[in-house]
Every structure is written in structure tokens, then in C-alpha cells.
Subunit: 445 residues, 2 copies
């Protein structure tokens, strides 16, 4: 009779030699990548410790819906402690903390609360905004790379509308009602579409003192097309869909700076806007590795080999947005998207769980396609060479995103919100949750 | 044939003489009181302007559930602009703004964004925390009088748990795990019960490195019983229910101060606690009335006559928590609860809509009872002399609160959250939504 591994019980299948003390696998980041490694790695071999600066897993593809008041932040966030209670994570422990230094010589990670030893380290901290060194940009633009950034964007957009509703100065009102989205990738297209819907469907009903014609939503993209990572057909469909939502799309326009609430472009043109939403660049959150000469490669990412080991550093792996892995067809590295992180995580988990004498399995990316949505009933999907758009693509987009959310409660509530929004053309979530302690932008008085 | 008043069309029923220009009724505060006045007042007679510092109506009875991660803030908040789109509010306009000064001589209200003229003014700004002049209390305790305060309380409680989970210093860990609730009224009892449930049901499963026995929830009340405004039986039932949730209830204990994370009491005893939740006092948000000698009465409330007119100030009314109205059986004023505000609002709306020669109708308070809940399956209800407790009272509590929420979407989502929480003994909402811009308490490092 075959011995059976029971969760929580000592491993009886002799897949590998048990040591008295399990080795510690430290995972930095509880996103798509980090959580998948924790889930699929063999917990009878590893003592798994997951470190994250937030106590929740979040869902970046829907941050734009938080920013546009379509979803509440809590429905696209899931407490990590709750998740690791599940049977797939038995033996994983969660440590709250923001990693400050990583010492690969001493095999130690220092967070703001403690020092953790590791035997093997997985870097899965993801990416953040890249402002390409444009001065002061970080201070004045709104971004969508975390839940709190999305909430801030929501509050500031609502504050502009409220202020415009009271404003009798024409120039100021126009500036308050000009929303510029920089970057024509999926996030840029999606948030511009959501703002377009606000202009087309909501403004007249909820802000009767604002003339919807005065609100401008401008999407600026440096290259000659939208959705550069998707098919040309998708870019064209997105362009048309945004046009129907009254979004002005300006292609081939390279942003130079943003000062005194005026955006300037390389071609000499300018746009006066109180709100600029920056989706044009990301960079890996590369914490320096002390005790080695290895430095992050291009885009704040760690160059990794085919098995996701950071090149030149023993026992350190990197997956997801923070890793830079080249592959056939991807000479400049795999894209920084969730499916790559999840697939790398599963491959790495298998490699970390293998017999000691088995060779490492090289990672192979399986591109299942990509999608973006532009308002109600409109989306574009590219899948293995074939292209979908319109309502079918929109349903596909909704289904995929709903299924990718963690937690049944979240799925239910997101589904209700979407159905509600679909039939009422409205949202009960336009809440400007300002507080005395946490004021809006200082100049918003 | 009787002429019929159509909403939005000029009034045809000649209930009063139409003037060319409608008089402006300015309502400060979109809570239970202010919103009810806007709803029930005759909009063909009045141009109604509603001013609020938030763009949403909120539901104070459930703030404690936000603080204890039971509900998301958005489900107990409802955008005012969305609400006044409804047919009952046709003709009401919303102005976002925090009122700075009220000049009753010039009949002007100045907000942080504009100056508004009024013909008749309704003060319905509600109440805030009263710290009774205890030094620095405001800085260090957590409060539950607004959505943002509740979110802050949630974040700080979760931060204490996360930090305790990593802490190896016994004294510090005990201090981090001591939660003191000051005030044995409904809010105090409810938040203490929710923290007791956290200790009893959640800690062991989600924070395996914390010994639940180390967590202390203490409810301190200065008088000799809980729920002073309810029946003695309710106070006793609440006391027992809290005991079963492992909450230490200390009666007759008057707080003197809170410094260096140590609470001191009049009897000389002390409790070291990182988290103190203050529910022991409220005061009206009385903005001074310029151009008159009238000053707020006791508790920051405006003394009003039987028709809710502020005594000594023409054309100014006050309702709800901010008003001080004595009545038979209430020599020190009506209680500061939602039913009083709503009943006063309806009476005032009728008085403002009356024929010019009709007399003002005096307000009569109809006490429909009061209720409080203490964790799952337990509540106390006092209703016209009879008392309910246990599961039936709990269902009654849930039904009344669900029905009082604004918006069907909110009701649905709250209902789902409650059902989910009931069967899973857990919550998907333990989210510490910290942001770099908005740090936790400075000493929390």
C-alpha cells in the first residue's frame, strides 16, 4: 500500500530525505506570484514564511475600478491571514513588515519590525510607478499601482467635480474638469474609458450644475497606437470605443513635464489640468541585495535564469514583475503581467519541491492572451492569434476577472456591483472619504 | 376635478400663494435629520440647498462594525448626490463644503468654498466626540463618530495584532493586546462585543502566534451600570453577554487621563494599553452664530423651542443631536439619537410647508424604543415597557438596521456580509489599508 501524505502530518512518502529541521523559504510579497509559490511548494519540505507590507492580497487589474468609484477597495483585497488558513497553505506563516534590507551574505532579511533568517529567498515584491525622472511628477500626479493610490485618485477626481460644481471662474472650472490620462496601455485605456462613462452617463444626472461638455477626458500616448502589447486590431477597437465615450485620444504625444497644473509635451503643446493620472511607466521594487555585487538590471528588475534564480546570487529567486527573464519571442524580457508571475511561481514551486538529484525544470511561458475593457459592453481580447471585441469580449473579460478574485464573498459583491452598475448606469460608491487627518492635496482648499 | 401637483411642475393646488422667487432653505448637514427635512419639505415653496462637508450620508449606528472589520465603509455610506436624484428630493441641490461661519444678521453662511445666502436656516450638523478637556486625549484615543474615524480605528486595531504577532517582548505584547473601551453606552457595548468576538473566534485561527489568553478587552464605565439610557434588565443582559465574550467589564470606574500609553482612573488603578477606544462623550458641532448674542447651551447644543426654532434667533432652526429640546419626561433634553432627529425633521418640514396663517405644530417625541447588540445572536431591545433579549432581539436589531440603510445595493451587500460572517465566524474585511502618505500613529514603527 502506498503511503499517503496527510496535510500537517509528517511526510511519509519519502519523496526526499527529511531533515530534522525544515529549511526556511522566505517569500517577499503576497501578490499573484508570492502567494502561488506559498500555495504550490511542498510544505513538508519547507517552512514557508510570507512577508508583505500589507496584510492583504490585492488585485491590480481592477485598481482602475476603485479609482473610478465602480468597486469598493475591500472587494478586490483579501486578507492574507484569511487566505493562508486554507488547506493549500497549511504550514505557511505570515509576517507583516516592509522589507528594508536584504543581506545575502548572512542570509538575513530586515523588515521594519524584525530580522528574519532564510535558507532560500523568493523575491516577489512586484512593481511600482516609474516617473522617468520627470521633476516633481510624483508629487502632483495620481497613480494606480496600489489600493491606497486608487482610493486617493477616486477622492481627488470626486473633489474636482464637487469643486467645479461650485466654481464660477470659467478658466478654473475648465481646468478642474480636465482629466488627462498619460499612457495608452491597458490601465490607461481602462481608466480613460471609466472617466468617459462618468462624463457620458453620470455627470448630467448627478452634477446638474456642470455642463458635461465642459468636462474633458484626454488620453495621451507617446507611441502611434493604443495597447502596444496587444494586436493592432485591438488598438484600433479601443481607439474607436474611447471615441464613442467622448475621450480625446492623442497619439504620438510625448509628455515632457507637469508644472503649475499645466502639462507640456515634446511638440510644444500644453494642456491645463488639475488631474493627471499617470499610467505610463512601471519599475520593479528592487531592494538592494547587500553582500553581493549584483545590481538590478533594466527597469529595476532582477535578471534571472531559466529557473528564475537571480544570476550570481545563490539561493535567491525572483518571479513576476520584479524579474527579468528573456525567452524565445521575448528578447527584452517576459511581460510584467499576472499570468507570467503565476506561471513562474508554479514552476519555481515545483523546482523547490523536487528531489535533490532532479534537474531544475526551465520555465516556459504559455501566453494565454490578453484583454482590456473600455466601459460597458466593450472590451478587446487577443487570444492565440484570434481577436474578439464588443459585448462577447466584455463578458469574457468580466468572467476572467471575477474568477481570478480571491474569496467567494468578494466575487459575489463584485458581481452585484457590476450588475447594479450595468442596469442603473450609476454607482453607489462615489464617496469622497476625506478625513481631517488625511487632507486632500494641500492646494485643494 | 382636483388639481394635481406633479413633481417638478409648478404647484397647482394653491396650498399657499406662490411668490415669484422661491425662498431659500439652507440645510447644514446631510445626516438623518437634514436629509429628512430636504425630503419632506414642500419643494414648490422652498429652494432647498443641502450643505455637507462629506459628499455622502453615513450611518453612525454601524460605525462600530467598520471599526471591527465587519462591514466595509462604503456599505454604510450613500452618496448624497445619488440620493437627491430620487423623486422625493426633486429640486434639492447639494453643495459640498465645510461651514466656517454663520452670519445670522446678514443671513449668510460661509463654507470653505463659497458664501451662501439663506432665507431660513436648518442646523443639522450632528455631534462629535467630547473629551471633557482631558489633556491630549484626542491625540491618542480612537473614536467612532465618523466613517474615517472608524477606518482609522480598524487599521490601528489590526496593526496592534500584527505587531503583537511578531513581538517577543512580553510587556510590550501585553500592552499591544490590551484594548480598552471607555463608555458603557450602546456604542461602547457594541464595539467591546465585537472585539470580544475577535478574541474568542478569530484570534486562534488567524493569528496562530498569539495566545488568545493574552488579549484583553476591557470595557470601563463610570456609572454603576451598562446602557444607562435603557432598562436595568438590558444593562444586566449586556453585562452577561459581554462576560461570555471574555470582555472584562469594570463599572464605577472614572477615567482620569491617558499618558505614555497608561490609562489612569479616579480610584488610583491603571491599565497599560496601546489602544483606547473612546465612546464616553459627545458634543454638538455648534458653529458660532455671528450677529447675535445667543450662545450654545449645554453640550454644544442649541436650545430650541417646541417647533425647533433656535431661541432668540429668527429663521434659524436646529434638529437632531445639535438641538437641545426639553419635553415631558425629558427635563434635561431629548436623547441624541437618530429617531429624535428624524421625527423632528418631519415635524419641521411640515411646519415649513404650512399655510402662512397656520400655527406652528409643536414637536412631540414618540419613543419607539432602543436597542443594542453584543456579538452574534445577542442583542437587547427595550420597546414601550417590554424587554427582549437573545436571538430574537438580535434578528430585530438586524432587521431595523438593514431597513434604515439608504440604498438597495447597500442593504444587499450588508446582508451578504452579515450572513457570511454568521456562518464562517470570520470576515474578509480585516484590511489594514495603510498608505505611505497617511501613516499609522507616529509611534507605531
Amino acid at each position: 500500500m502506498m503511503p499517503v501524505c496527510k496535510p500537517g502530518a509528517p511526510c511519509a512518502c519519502f519523496k526526499y530525505m527529511r531533515t530534522e529541521q525544515k529549511q526556511r523559504l522566505l517569500i517577499i510579497g503576497g501578490g499573484f506570484g508570492g502567494l502561488s509559490v506559498a500555495r504550490y511548494v511542498d510544505k513538508s519540505k519547507w517552512e514557508v514564511v510570507l512577508v508583505d507590507r500589507n496584510n492583504y492580497h490585492s488585485f491590480p487589474p481592477l485598481f482602475y475600478q476603485v479609482a473610478s468609484s465602480g468597486l469598493e477597495p475591500s472587494t478586490i483585497s483579501f486578507p492574507l491571514r484569511r487566505e493562508i488558513r486554507g488547506r493549500h497553505y497549511r504550514g505557511v506563516s505570515f509576517h507583516f513588515g516592509d522589507v528594508r534590507t536584504i543581506d545575502v551574505a548572512a542570509k538575513k532579511v530586515v523588515t521594519d519590525y524584525e530580522t528574519l533568517h532564510y535558507d532560500t529567498l523568493v523575491l516577489a515584491a512586484g512593481s511600482t510607478n516609474n516617473f522617468f525622472g520627470i521633476p516633481d511628477l510624483e508629487k502632483y500626479v495620481f497613480t494606480l499601482k496600489s489600493t491606497t493610490e486608487a482610493i486617493r485618485c477616486r477622492n481627488e477626481v470626486l473633489a474636482c467635480l464637487e469643486r467645479a460644481a461650485l466654481c464660477r471662474d470659467d478658466a478654473l472650472r475648465r481646468r478642474l474638469l480636465t482629466f488627462v490620462v498619460v499612457g495608452g496601455g491597458p490601465t490607461g485605456v481602462e481608466i480613460a474609458g471609466a472617466l468617459g462613462e462618468l462624463k457620458r452617463y453620470v455627470l448630467k444626472r448627478e452634477y446638474p450644475s456642470i455642463d458635461p461638455g465642459e468636462m474633458r477626458v484626454v488620453l495621451v500616448e507617446g507611441s502611434s497606437r493604443l495597447l502596444g502589447n496587444m494586436s493592432a486590431k485591438s488598438g484600433e477597437d479601443a481607439f474607436k470605443a474611447l471615441g464613442s465615450l467622448l475621450v480625446e485620444v492623442q497619439l504620438g504625444k510625448v509628455m515632457k513635464g507637469y508644472a503649475d497644473k499645466v502639462l507640456s509635451f515634446a511638440d510644444g503643446s500644453t494642456i491645463a489640468a488639475d488631474s493627471v493620472i499617470w499610467t505610463a511607466g512601471i519599475t520593479g521594487v528592487a531592494i538592494p541585495l547587500e553582500g553581493t555585487d549584483v545590481r538590478p538590471a533594466r527597469g529595476g528588475r532582477w535578471a534571472v535564469d531559466a529557473s528564475n534564480a537571480v544570476e550570481g546570487v545563490p539561493d535567491v529567486y525572483a518571479i513576476g514583475d520584479i524579474s527579468l527573464q528573456t525567452a524565445d519571442g521575448y528578447p527584452s524580457g517576459l511581460p510584467q503581467v499576472a499570468p507570467v508571475a503565476m506561471q513562474q511561481a508554479r514552476c519555481l514551486a515545483r523546482n523547490l519541491s523536487r528531489y535533490a538529484d532532479e534537474p531544475m525544470e526551465p520555465f516556459r511561458y504559455c501566453d494565454k492572451g490578453s484583454m482590456a475593457t473600455i466601459g460597458r459592453n466593450r472590451a478587446v481580447v487577443d487570444m492565440r492569434g484570434f481577436h474578439l471585441s464588443g459585448r462577447i469580449a466584455w463578458f469574457a473579460w468580466m468572467f476572467v476577472h471575477l474568477m481570478s478574485l480571491l474569496g467567494m464573498r468578494n466575487r459575489t459583491v463584485v458581481f452585484i456591483n457590476w450588475i447594479w452598475g450595468y442596469f442603473t448606469f450609476s454607482s453607489g460608491l462615489r464617496l469622497l472619504m476625506r478625513s481631517d487627518r488625511y487632507p486632500l492635496r494641500s492646494y485643494w482648499k
